[in-house]
């Protein structure tokens, strides 16, 4: 059974169908890419899965659970987390506090216990703190643990957003353009992080524009155009698909 499955999902934006009858699945342990030209509906798909937008019709399943139109925090509790195109971190908290807040779902405690437990000093939390430290080491922020997130350079902020997402302990990580604005070297580092996460048992659904990255990283790719799926296969299959080539390069290129 796939970890995530979209079944005939449609979303109307005014009179326009931003996403039309979309169906695809993500197998557990895979790194799946979601690509398409600007405006093809990729972020819309993320927003629908993650509860920001209502699906006009269709179903979304996470394992056997129907998660259509679930609220965002309950999705995180079920094990799905995402990053945003416009990096969203907690600006005025330190890096360490960012991760502490993000791991409170994993810790799964009631509101009253949250009140009684100190945020930073807790002997029962040793393994959670080690995990947080591991994540910080991996993304290269271990030394900056005490720095306020607002003061970090762009690359570090993007890595922090990724770290927060991983700290939630989610099994499905939905990453929205995690490489945007990164240098070659930084992109390689980010790819290593993603591979590490898969090694730890996570499944990844990835939106990216960096084609080299997608082809190298993903087991399989879904291609969208104007809200519809036009291709779904391995990187090789996608690379050779004439429709894909057309939408990316233009029809005149194809006819040459």
């Amino acid at each position: 059974m796939p970890l995530l499955a979209l079944e005939n999902v449609t979303h109307f934006f005014g009179g326009l169908a931003a996403v039309k009858n979309l169906s695809f699945a993500v197998e557990s342990g895979a790194i799946r890419g979601l690509i398409g030209p600007n405006g093809s509906g990729k972020s819309t798909v993320f927003n629908i899965i993650f509860g920001y937008l209502q699906a006009s019709s269709g179903r979304i399943r996470f394992e056997s659970c129907d998660i259509t139109n679930h609220s965002t925090p309950s999705l995180v509790e079920l094990g799905i987390a995402r990053t945003f195109q416009a990096t969203q971190i907690f600006d005025d908290l330190t890096v360490e506090e960012n991760l502490t807040v993000s791991s409170q779902v994993v810790h799964r405690e009631s509101l009253s216990k949250s009140f009684l437990r100190p945020a930073l000093l807790d002997r029962d939390e040793a393994h959670l703190r080690t995990r947080a430290r591991d994540i910080l080491e991996l993304v290269g922020l271990a030394a900056a643990a005490g720095r306020v997130a607002r003061d970090l350079p762009y690359r570090d902020q993007k890595m922090l957003a990724l770290a927060n997402t991983m700290a939630t302990g989610a099994r499905l990580l939905m990453l929205d353009e995690p490489m945007a604005g990164l240098t070659m070297q930084e992109t390689r580092a980010a790819m290593a992080v993603i591979r590490w996460a898969r090694g730890e048992g996570a499944t990844i659904l990835l939106i990216e524009h960096d084609m080299r990255c997608i082809m190298e990283l993903c087991d399989s790719i879904v291609v969208l155009d104007h809200g519809e799926k036009i291709c779904d296969g391995t990187p090789d299959e996608v690379r050779r698909n004439p429709q894909v080539i057309e939408i990316y390069l233009g029809a005149d290129e194809c006819s040459k």
């Binding site: 965002t72 969203q88 502490t100 409170q104 945020a119």
Partner: protein, 332 residues
């Protein structure tokens, strides 16, 4: 938010509490004790307002919640003869319930116009106590002759709460408990979640925080504390009127919190105490005082939106040595 920050706060809190405890011992002037009593009451109100504003919610009905506490407790005591120690939890609970209902109606549906809505609710509550159920709530004249809190007995020793000094210690006790709860909240994991919500509600939801539940909890707590302050207000003054809980006292509280600083737990403390002292000098110039409040609101919003405590924080942060660079920056 750090451990040292928490330790410093605890020390400051203990100092403040002991300082307040000593006041009736160093002065016989009833007027000064009155001012101190009002200040402690306003501290509870300001600190509970601040914790809601720190989530980005401007609850203009906060003073009305105080009013609910006052009127319900006074009415129960005067019409049904219930003891203060019974009316206190009932009245504060009613205020908390009202806050909860207000939150449930609005938070799911509305972010940006929360304050407009609370303004309308405040006006409705004021009108209600002013014009309806006159037999119970006294109508335009309000309630006169609200009884003092009933004496408390500990074995053979009885504590009567009639004198100004004893009432002062009562409100001090209330403030210590309220402040302890709010301090605990600030440094707890729940407090960290609230800070996260304030900075980015969508990022908070994206890491699994139930932001609406959190906001409702904080709003209910703040309503309860406002109710407690209202109950004390009613039974210590003996006279209450719907105008005691309208836009004027609400704006005063707003000034205390905003000028002191919303993001820091000491903000409302600084604001309340500072303005209580300032207001003593402006006693005879009522309109000048209002003018000052207005000017302060404008100046703070325009020049230093984080209030006095925010400005101090920034000064201290600038004075600190620069932090260690991250691995990538060092390695690149």
């Amino acid at each position: 938010m750090t451990w040292t920050g928490q330790a410093r706060s605890i020390v400051a809190f203990l100092l403040l509490a002991s300082g307040a405890g000593v006041i009736p011992l160093v002065t016989d002037d009833f007027y000064k004790i009155d001012v101190a009593t009002t200040t402690l009451q306003d501290l509870i109100l300001a600190m509970s307002l601040r914790v809601v504003m720190n989530l980005g919610l401007l609850n203009l009905a906060h003073a009305s919640l105080m009013g609910i506490g006052a009127y319900v407790s006074a009415a129960l005591a005067m019409r049904l003869g219930l003891s203060f120690w019974l009316t206190l939890p009932i009245a504060a609970g009613t205020a908390a319930l009202m806050a909860l209902v207000l939150g449930m109606l609005t938070l799911r549906l509305y972010g940006p116009y929360f304050f407009l809505l609370t303004f309308a609710v405040m006006s409705m509550i004021q009108l209600f106590f002013h014009s309806y159920l006159e037999d119970i709530f006294g109508g335009a004249t309000g309630l006169i002759g609200v009884p003092r809190p009933n004496p408390v007995g500990f074995g053979s020793f009885t504590l009567t709460l009639v004198s100004k000094v004893s009432l002062y210690y009562l409100i001090l006790a209330f403030w210590i408990v309220a402040a302890a709860v709010l301090f605990r909240l600030e440094y707890s994991r729940l407090g960290l979640q609230c800070a996260a919500i304030k900075q980015s509600e969508s990022a908070a939801r994206a890491v699994g925080i139930h932001t609406i539940r959190c906001k409702l909890l904080i709003l209910t707590l703040s309503g309860f504390l406002a109710g407690v302050a209202g109950v004390f207000f009613a039974h210590s003054r003996g006279v209450i009127n719907s105008s005691d809980f309208g836009i004027d006292p609400m704006l005063k509280l707003l000034v205390y919190v905003v000028a002191g600083g919303v993001s820091n737990i000491w903000g409302p403390v600084v604001g309340t105490i500072g303005f209580s002292i300032a207001s003593e000098f402006l006693r005879s110039f009522h309109f000048l005082e209002t003018l000052l409040y207005g000017a302060v609101l404008i100046a703070v919003m325009r020049l230093f939106p984080q209030g006095v405590t925010g400005a101090l924080e920034r000064i201290f942060a600038a004075a600190r040595p620069s932090p260690v660079p991250s691995d990538a920056a060092a390695g690149a």
